[in-house]
């Protein structure tokens, strides 16, 4: 008798509801605890990347009226910072989100106001370890962007430019190059 009672429709729903309800409560609590720390970690990664791109500068959130809407050829831009040295703006840093081989990359790009690229840093990605992941892991690859002209003309060697691709990861290399170009074009549009 008790078996049929336990297996009745209402009982099934009640048990399942209780389990999901308790799980949801628990997750809500954990999220409360970890969310500030996760935001802090992301902030710290970004700050560290920017400090490496334009050393000695202070970063202030730039007041920009409009960010170009992302489309097929221009990835999204977010978190635009002005780099200030001795009260003067020397450049901009921003996060650009191009599509790589394994999903969206987050690339922090620094652009100097003298028309050169300050550099780039990949802060998050889902690229293949050992191939595309070298964009972040291999410290010898990414510095080649520093000092290149910030006019949106950069391209990997396969496309006729002078950015040397990561071996076996042309798509990732193109994505980072596109991110740098997008940031450069954006800074040009700010000045223009």
């Amino acid at each position: 008798m008790s078996e049929t009672k336990k297996e009745s429709m209402g009982m099934l729903a009640l048990v399942l509801f209780l389990i999901t309800f308790i799980t949801a409560l628990l997750l809500g609590f954990i999220n409360q605890v970890t969310a500030p720390q996760i935001a802090k970690n992301k902030e710290a990664t970004r700050a560290a990347a920017m400090a490496q791109l334009i050393p000695g500068a202070e970063f202030e959130l730039a007041e920009v009226s409009e960010v170009p809407a992302p489309d097929k050829n221009t990835p999204a831009i977010q978190n635009i910072y002005e780099a200030v040295v001795d009260g003067e703006t020397v450049g901009y840093c921003m996060e650009v989100l191009p599509s790589g081989f394994g999903g969206t990359l987050t690339v922090v790009v620094g652009v100097n106001l003298d028309g050169t690229i300050a550099g780039a840093q990949v802060t998050s990605h889902a690229e293949t370890p050992g191939l595309g992941a070298k964009a972040q892991a291999d410290p010898t690859w990414i510095p080649q962007f520093a000092g290149k002209p910030a006019d949106g003309s950069l391209a990997v060697t396969k496309d006729g430019g002078d950015i040397v691709s990561i071996t076996g990861a042309t798509i990732t290399s193109r994505a980072v190059t596109l991110a740098v170009n997008t940031a450069a074009n954006y800074v040009l549009s700010l000045e223009g």
Partner: protein
């Protein structure tokens, strides 16, 4: 003694990946490097132990008809807790495991142990079962990850050791890596090689007796 037997069985005779051939998706997808394999193995082991304990505790409370839904909710809850905690407190590991962490939810080893063992046994044996199966799974991932990274990238433990964190470089292989081994195709190949090797030794052992 009993624990030793179970561990032996979970790691070798009844290894979830090599013998039962379950949980192949994470075994193929996350074993592109040794450090990823270790991270994935340990994360899955923690989820397996936690979910085995809770499911065993609730085994009399969960009705037969909705057990799968209940198991998945519990497993997904633990996975999310671990995902958020890693992102908050060990961000480097969370970054390298990335997408794969949430995918532990659909790892059939965890659901499989819940269904086959935890829902029918007491708490302590279920926890032990989680530990043993977790170690067996981690062992399989480490084997896969080690060989795939070695052949495909020419490094050992890249991302964690070495002056530039690129791992221990193996002279000839680092300059001429077999890149295919860290791509999906290489995962299937390595799985095949390992399965064949293990079967060979198993059969040889049987033949001796």
């Amino acid at each position: 003694m009993k624990f030793k037997d179970r561990l032996h069985s979970a790691v070798l005779l009844d290894n979830p990946v090599f013998m039962q051939t379950i949980g192949l998706c994470p075994s193929l997808a996350t074993t592109t490097s040794l450090s990823n394999a270790i991270g994935m193995g340990l994360a899955a082991t923690v989820v397996l132990i936690c979910s085995n304990i809770v499911i065993s505790l609730l085994r009399k409370f969960i009705p037969e008809k909705v057990r799968i839904a209940a198991f998945i909710t519990i497993i997904a809850g633990f996975v999310t807790i671990i995902d958020l905690s890693l992102q908050a407190f060990i961000p480097s590991l969370a970054a390298s495991l990335g997408l794969f962490l949430p995918l532990i939810v659909v790892n059939c080893i965890i659901l499989g142990r819940a269904e086959a063992y935890a829902s029918k046994n007491k708490v302590l044996p279920s926890a032990l079962d989680g530990v043993c199966m977790g170690i067996g799974f981690t062992f399989a991932l480490i084997l896969m990850g080690f060989f795939r990274e070695l052949l495909g990238a020419g490094t050992i433990l890249s991302g964690y050791v070495g002056a530039d964190k690129l791992g221990i470089k193996i002279p000839f292989l680092y300059e001429n890596p077999i890149s295919m081994m860290i791509l999906p195709a290489g995962g299937f190949l390595m799985m095949g090689f390992l399965l064949a090797t293990i079967q060979y030794f198993m059969n040889k052992k049987k033949g001796d007796k």
